[in-house]
């Protein structure tokens, strides 16, 4: 039990930020036309910030269901390989493994990586539980409290979206290939913006990941 608490303690400073972000997701989801219950259920079932923000913003700009779902799923595709990297930490019945694996998020995964390159189950689960409570609770608070807020554009909240994605992008650009993929993805999106429905440029930009087929 104590070792799970170590994970929660290690991630606590991030938990505060995640709580605030959950609240901002609740506010932005409401402004995108997603009601309080749906926003909270989304945080409880998806539990992945960038995908949720992307889906909400596409829905809010009338981008359509297909574009919103595709963009979110593509953003979460990284959880395939991430979950593979920590697969050995999960034991027990199939249902138990499915439930516990939902606590895998970028931050809990990162904090559970030990200096020797292996992963610690207690740190991942402990950190994941705290982050989950912060994210879902924050979303509910934001979605309910957000009704008291005025026009989100007056508060500059629409500019919070690109700032958030830029802040999430920077740590992803760890090497030349990631930088090339980011530049290619941004360029594809910009080129398609004037010609296609909202959402399409984002999905088309995912083709930039094919740069990964080249030998390093």
């Amino acid at each position: 039990m104590n070792r799970y608490r170590d994970g929660a303690r290690a991630i606590a400073p991030i938990g505060v930020i995640v709580l605030a972000f959950g609240a901002s997701f609740g506010v932005l989801a409401r402004t995108a036309g997603i009601e309080t219950e749906a926003a909270t259920v989304m945080s409880a079932t998806t539990f992945a910030g960038s995908a949720q923000f992307a889906a909400a913003s596409i829905l809010g700009t009338s981008g359509g269901i297909a574009a919103a779902v595709l963009a979110a799923v593509l953003l979460n595709a990284r959880y395939g390989p991430i979950s593979v990297s920590v697969a050995s930490l999960f034991r027990g019945s199939r249902l138990r493994r499915v439930v516990e694996s939902q606590l895998i998020v970028d931050e809990s995964w990162a904090v559970s990586r030990r200096p020797d390159g292996r992963f610690d189950r207690h740190l991942l689960i402990g950190a994941g539980l705290l982050l989950y409570a912060c994210w879902v609770g924050g979303t509910a608070i934001g979605a309910v409290g957000g009704e008291a807020l005025g026009d989100p554009a007056d508060l500059g909240l629409d500019a919070a979206f690109p700032a958030l994605f830029l802040a999430l992008l920077v740590p992803q650009v760890r090497n030349r290939r990631a930088l090339a993929a980011a530049i290619a993805g941004g360029t594809i999106a910009l080129a398609l913006l004037p010609f296609t429905p909202v959402g399409v440029p984002i999905i088309a930009a995912s083709a930039a990941c094919l740069l990964g087929l080249r030998e390093a």
């Binding site: 079932t45 998806t46 697969a87 500019a159 979206f161 958030l164 830029l166 802040a167 290939r177 930009a205």
Partner: protein, 102 residues
């Protein structure tokens, strides 16, 4: 709004499946090296596209407005190694300020 619930259901189901792929299906095995390389580049490509579409995106047009000032503030905050929350607040505050002043 049913549209939102459809998205919530589909994205939730897909994410649950993605996060449990390793622990449930693959067990201790790992993905082929080439496939791992492709998936690893999805995040930077998609996030860059999101930055572009959210900062200059309109309805089938490129719109240059106060959001650009917000992004500039975010870049400045990132260069100062500010925490995520400060970066986002800086962008919102700068954009709100421009809208009040201009």
């Amino acid at each position: 709004m049913t549209e939102a619930w459809v998205v919530v259901g589909l994205v939730g189901a897909a994410t649950v499946a993605l996060k449990s792929v390793g622990p449930v299906v693959l067990g201790g095995r790992t993905l082929p090296h080439r496939l791992t390389g492709v998936v690893a580049l999805l995040a930077p490509a998609l996030l860059a596209a999101l930055v572009v579409t959210q900062v200059v995106g309109g309805d089938r047009e490129i719109v240059l407005d106060a959001r650009l000032v917000g992004l500039a503030a975010a870049v400045a905050a990132l260069l100062l190694r500010a925490p995520l929350l400060v970066v986002v607040l800086a962008a919102a505050a700068a954009t709100a300020a421009v809208r009040v002043l201009v």
